[in-house]
């Protein structure tokens, strides 16, 4: 099978020699450049690396030896395949040439076929070298440890790249031929059996494997690694494992962290939901109690008062003394009815359910013993839990403003936008309010937080108090 042509640099000071090499090579389909001496050859090599260099051993200026030594000493040129032409009359030259770093030699005079054969072989070697160089570069640059090891329980390493030192804390040489330690010995004891089984199964099924497991770093900590590998069959019947090991501790930690965070968020959400359920249940109970009072005791009081009035109108004619007593009793009953009514209203304002937050707050304000103003209020009704929470915050804040603030004015704002609803109650009183556990305001923060909200109190001494509750509302 004809191979594609190779790039060849011929170094020959004498025209006939140059021709003798150049012509057959070009005829064979190679691309040939020629230079007259070693120095020119170095310059040309630096300009563009050929597959093969064919050079005279004896030359003026920089001769074959000089050229070989210069090539081998230069890291960029080092891998170039150099064939030296030496006189067959002086056999020792061949040894000298190889000694100086030549890869091969041609004894002059030579047959064309031999020239072509040597060049072809040289080119193959140089290609192999190039691919090895690439592999080395790969091994050095890939962000993981590349390895080749025997398919045994020890993972006896034939080669493993330097990255393993960063991953495990042990130098790669430790693992080569298991010189200091086996690779198996650094796999975390809890993961060892799993890794062994997985690799065994994959090899048996001739599948590549991908594993995540822990290794023990020299510093004593565990590190997470990801390994990809595969059983490889060589030409000579040998088998080995080729693969790469990557440090994924950072990713694992991030995942772990994310899982922890998600679990925490789920816990907080559940807590909030259960708090919301508790508050919702309590609110439902309050609505029920208010209704029971209204339909039960309150109605009965009125009915009894009616009956007593009947009795009174009779007694007034027949027993005026008794009528006076009864009148007192009726007054007392009246006060009891009033108290019961205010109690029921405090337990749950019916208006809140029937006409919504804004009307309920307006009613609250109209019963307040001080001037208060509702500035802004949404036109639509808000979800019941939101209205209830904001109502109690406003009610408590207004009560506080009357009780503690010594204020001349208090304002209320209610708003709702972009999935949030809020209420702000601000007075211009003495300030210095403190939210304390268990008291009026403190008790409301639970209610607000259950709706993914926040209750804040700003109350600089002497500069009024602003209570703000903001909750989720969708």
């Amino acid at each position: 099978m004809p191979e594609p042509g190779a790039d060849i640099l011929v170094v020959a000071s004498r025209e006939p020699v140059a021709l003798e090499v150049w012509v057959p090579l070009e005829e064979a389909g190679h691309r040939v450049r020629t230079v007259a001496d070693g120095l020119a050859a170095i310059t040309e090599l630096k300009r563009q690396l050929p597959d093969v260099v064919v050079a005279e051993w004896e030359a003026p200026g920089l001769d074959g030896r000089g050229l070989c030594e210069a090539v081998r000493g230069d890291p960029e040129l080092r891998d170039t395949h150099v064939i030296v032409m030496t006189s067959s009359a002086r056999a020792e030259r061949a040894a000298e040439a190889l000694e100086a770093g030549a890869d091969d030699y041609l004894a002059t005079p030579f047959e064309q076929t031999e020239l072509l054969a040597r060049v072809r072989a040289g080119r193959r070697t140089s290609q192999l070298r190039a691919s090895e160089a690439r592999l080395r570069a790969l091994m050095a640059n890939v962000p993981g440890a590349i390895y080749r090891c025997a398919p045994d329980r020890e993972w006896t390493m034939e080669l493993i790249s330097d990255e393993i030192e960063r991953i495990s804390g042990h130098p790669p040489a430790d693992f080569i031929d298991s010189a200091v330690r086996t690779f198996a010995s650094i796999i975390h004891p809890d993961d060892r059996e799993r890794v062994e089984n997985a690799v065994f199964e994959a090899c048996k099924a001739r599948r590549p494997f991908v594993l995540e497991y822990r290794i023990q770093h020299a510093d004593g900590d565990a590190r997470w690694v990801l390994e990809r590998g595969q059983l490889v069959h060589g030409t000579n019947g040998r088998t080995w494992l080729d693969g790469a090991i990557f440090d994924i501790s950072a990713r694992r930690e991030a995942e772990e962290e994310r899982r922890r965070r998600e679990a925490e968020q789920a816990r907080v959400a559940e807590l909030r939901a259960s708090r919301a359920r508790i508050i919702e249940a309590a609110d439902a109970a309050r609505r029920r109690i208010e209704r029971d009072l209204h339909d039960g005791a309150q109605q009965r009081f009125v009915a009894v008062a009616l009956q007593l009035r009947h009795l009174l109108s009779r007694l007034q004619k027949t027993a005026p003394d008794a009528a006076l007593l009864l009148e007192d009793a009726l007054d007392e009953l009246q006060r009891a009815t009033d108290e019961l009514r205010e109690l029921a209203r405090g337990i749950h304002p019916a208006l809140l359910t029937e006409r919504g937050l804004v009307r309920a707050v307006e009613a609250l304000i109209s019963r307040l013993p001080m001037a208060a103003k509702l500035h802004e209020a949404p036109k639509e009704r808000l979800p019941q839990p939101v209205e209830t929470a904001l109502y109690y915050v406003i009610a408590e804040s207004l009560t506080n403003a009357c009780k503690h603030a010594d204020a001349s004015a208090v304002t209320v704002d209610i708003g709702c936008a972009q999935g949030r609803a809020w209420a702000v109650v601000a007075d211009d009183g003495v300030g210095d309010a403190r939210m304390t556990e268990g008291s009026g305001l403190g008790g409301l923060s639970d209610r607000v937080e259950a709706l993914d909200g926040r209750l804040t109190v700003q109350s600089p001494p002497g500069r009024g108090t602003t209570v703000r509750a903001e909750v989720a509302c969708d």
């Binding site: 009125v302 019916a350 208006l351 006409r355 009613a363 304000i365 109209s366």
Partner: protein, 218 residues
Amino acid sequence: MRLVVAEDSLLLREGLVRLLEEAGFEVVGQAGDADELIRKALAHKPDVAVVDVRMPPTNTDDGLRAALEIRRQAPGVGVLVLSAYVEEAYAHELLADGAAGVGYMLKHRVADLQRFTEAVRRVGEGGSALDPEVITQLMRGNRSPDSALAKLTPRELDTLALMAEGRSNLGIAEQLVVTDRAVEKHVRSIFSKLGLDAVPEDHRRVLAVLRYLRGDSG
């Protein structure tokens, strides 16, 4: 005077009916829920429907809604709404189309026989009857300084509040312990300050009360 009485508590309804009949009213229909009330009120066209706010079916403000419905469909039927609480918001809804033939009172006032029957009668005659507590609430709500009401003297405000309760000049005079001539003077002054001089007397009273209740700034 013909009445329909709507109240879901049987005990109370019986008591109310007996009381009203003893006071000389004719109770032509009784209702235990809002639908029955509307049906009977529209059928009997009574002078007054006495209505409890909280009634079935939902036991919230069904009675109030029914009262508004009756006013819309049969403007000649007066409504006297009774409630365990009086709410400014409900007062505004009831008074939206005028105070004539409208009453709104705390339920337990029914035990004050004279006051209650008086209220029923006033509503039946096309007047109004508002609970003093409603008035107090509305008054508190109307403190805005740019209101035309701000021009009224305290005495005129008292007079207007009593007008809102539905009282006649004579009734107001008794309550304020002044002569009815003095009340007439206050009333004239109120009409003039509210810009109602040109309006006929009956209408004027209602408008003044309405303006007062709504806290109009005009």
